[in-house]
């Protein structure tokens, strides 16, 4: 475990040096994120000039949810998205072999190898917006709510991770998986609103196949005290299942790759 911590730290170290060397790019990346989060918040504010609640969610609660939205995005885009993008390239070029020669878990290596440091801004901004929403709410956060939030947030990010890993594993069989990933990214937009807003089919999709919906809605519910125990249990169970499935599927993919590569 400690060893993997050290391995991860070496990944971070290498990446930080690289990204901070391009200071202008880094700063521009931050500016872009400010723009994106700002306009998304703006959208919420515009909606609330015409309404007092959005399907029962008050403005502070919606602001908090927007914060969670970017927290989840940050969590995924910081580590997993860039690593998986590179993984597909490795599979295509045949350089995945090098990863398989290493004396460490291939799943860990391919999931965390490449980090996009600038994406920390997503999470930081998400956190700030979440904080603003909570302040506006004015209620005290119970320790239970905070714990539930942390747990469900972790679950949400893990659920999205599992989905991405599963999609990326498909590249062992189908070369052009970027299309499938594009579908995922398209659905990501739907995470900006609570999923109870959507028609049944969309709600179901965002809770299961493309879990970005519950990854955002459930933690937001948790921290604003509107999460039910069933939801909480369902989230934990669902995430556990998806993680186990994704790991199994990955091993199946590897087995196929090591049987077939020429």
């Amino acid at each position: 475990m400690i060893r993997y911590g050290r391995i991860f730290r070496s990944f971070v170290g290498a990446e930080i040096k690289n990204e901070l060397a391009y200071r202008l790019n880094f700063v521009l990346g931050l500016v872009e994120m400010l723009l994106v989060v700002g306009t998304s918040l703006g959208a919420v504010l515009v909606l609330f000039t015409q309404a007092k609640t959005l399907n029962g969610w008050t403005l502070p609660e919606m602001i908090a949810l927007t914060g969670v939205y970017y927290l989840v995005q940050g969590g995924v885009n910081l580590i997993f998205a860039p690593s998986f993008e590179k993984l597909m390239e490795y599979v295509r070029l045949g350089t995945l072999d090098f990863t398989l020669l290493k004396p460490a878990s291939a799943q860990f290596l391919v999931s965390t190898r490449h980090i996009s440091i600038v994406r920390i801004s997503d999470s930081v901004l998400g956190f700030v917006v979440l904080g603003a929403g909570l302040v506006m709410l004015g209620e005290a956060i119970t320790p239970w709510a905070a714990l539930a939030f942390a747990l469900t947030l972790a679950c949400g990010i893990l659920a999205v991770y599992s989905l991405l890993l599963t999609l990326v594993t498909l590249s062992f069989w189908f070369v052009r998986v970027d299309n499938i990933l594009a579908i995922f990214w398209a659905f990501t937009d739907a995470g900006r609103f609570p999923i109870d807003l959507y028609p049944g089919w969309l709600r179901f999709t965002l809770a299961t196949i493309v879990p970005i919906g519950i990854a955002v809605t459930v933690p937001a519910e948790a921290i604003s005290g509107r999460m039910s125990l069933e939801t909480f249990a369902g989230m934990l169970a669902g995430t556990a299942f998806s993680v186990v499935f994704a790991s199994w599927f990955w091993r199946r993919g590897l087995r196929s790759y090591t049987g077939a590569s020429a």
């Binding site: 060893r3 050290r6 391995i7 730290r9 070496s10 990944f11 170290g13 290498a14 990446e15 040096k17 690289n18 070029l93 045949g94 350089t95 072999d97 090098f98 398989l100 020669l101 290493k102 004396p103 460490a104 290596l109 490449h114 090591t258 049987g259 077939a260 590569s261 020429a262």
Partner: protein, 336 residues
């Protein structure tokens, strides 16, 4: 006597390749019923390699060299037979095994493009759990041997192909592997860089006693580094032994090079041997059976007298030998 570091018996690797036809009809059909073609890449190989040997795998494209290396390094699992490297079954990919081997592939880089090699080295240090002391010692040695000092702090992207290969080598050897698999290591490099890599590999074997398996297209690699060569063709071993013996068994002839003065007739040179080349300016090459080479050469000299300006007697070029092997030539029984 050293025990076999690499031990292979009856190794087989058959690929199932999905047959593909073009057209909508075929695509729809393949949705429901996939037809497979069996492509044998390796069809029954026996091999034993002792510690610190440097063995060359020779063979045309598709012969099964790379497949064999991949099986031995654990990247592929075979469809039949058994193999053990350092006592481990490679395709189980046990971490203890992976820590003791290395596979380097020519023209393919494991280093991250945008960051300096030195940073990648630090990552490798963690992945292989190399101690600070070992890491520093080996790094210094590799930097020295490969002249890497000006290279490792530049992003890999900015290095030339030759420089990149050198840095790749260092990266691949940082963990001090006991068995090193090299797949076409000098591919695409210019002549001087090829020579440098060759001398480095020889030095590596000398200093660390690492067992080295090397595949290459370039005969010069094999000739320079390997006393023992394994010839693979169509997934089977055609020859396994000393390179020098291969020439004798495979191409039992010598090449006589004669340079004739102006005006000398070349027509009757056929008497002495098969005329292989005639450049029109008086230089002729003859192929002469090895056993009769001294006698025929003497007769040539005597008969031509003054018309002969120059004479040479050489072993057949290694490329010819290999060509003969691959064009299905029979191996002559070993000459005593």
């Amino acid at each position: 006597m050293s025990e076999a570091v690499v031990h292979v018996r009856g190794l087989e690797k058959i690929y199932k390749v999905h047959e593909r036809e073009t057209g909508v009809g075929a695509t729809v059909r393949s949705f429901f019923k996939r037809t497979f073609k069996e492509v044998p890449a390796v069809g029954g190989i026996d091999l034993d390699i002792a510690r610190s040997e440097v063995v060359g795998f020779l063979g045309p494209n598709g012969a099964g060299k790379t497949t064999t290396l991949k099986v031995l390094s654990g990247l592929l699992y075979p469809t039949g037979g058994e193999a053990s490297v350092l006592g481990y079954t490679p395709w189980k990919r046990e971490y203890a095994f992976l820590r003791r081997i290395a596979l380097l592939m020519g023209n393919r880089t494991q280093l991250v493009w945008d960051i300096p090699a030195a940073d990648s080295f630090l990552v490798l240090k963690q992945i292989y759990a190399i101690s600070d002391h070992d890491f520093q010692t080996r790094l210094d040695e590799l930097v020295d041997l490969l002249e890497l000092a000006p290279l490792i702090h530049k992003p890999v992207r900015q290095l030339s192909l030759g420089e990149r290969m050198k840095v790749e080598f260092a990266a691949g050897l940082l963990h001090g592997p006991e068995v090193v698999f090299l797949d076409e290591p000098t591919l695409g490099l210019d002549v001087s860089m090829q020579a440098r890599i060759r001398s480095f590999v020889a030095e590596l074997n000398r200093r660390t006693g690492a067992t080295i398996l090397l595949t290459s297209h370039y005969m010069d690699d094999i000739v320079a580094l390997c006393k023992r060569v394994v010839v693979i063709h169509h997934g089977k071993i055609l020859y396994d032994g000393a390179l020098a013996d291969l020439a004798e068994r495979m191409a039992p002839y010598k090449v006589v090079g004669a340079t004739l003065r102006d005006g000398a007739s070349r027509a009757d040179l056929e008497r002495y041997g098969d005329v292989v080349s005639n450049d029109g300016a008086g230089r002729v090459k003859l192929r002469v059976p090895r056993a009769e080479a001294p006698a025929r050469t003497a007769r040539l000299v005597a008969d031509l007298g003054d018309a002969l300006a120059d004479l040479s007697l050489e072993d057949p070029p290694i490329e010819d030998v290999i060509d003969r092997v691959f064009s299905g030539g029979q191996l002559e029984p070993a000459v005593g």
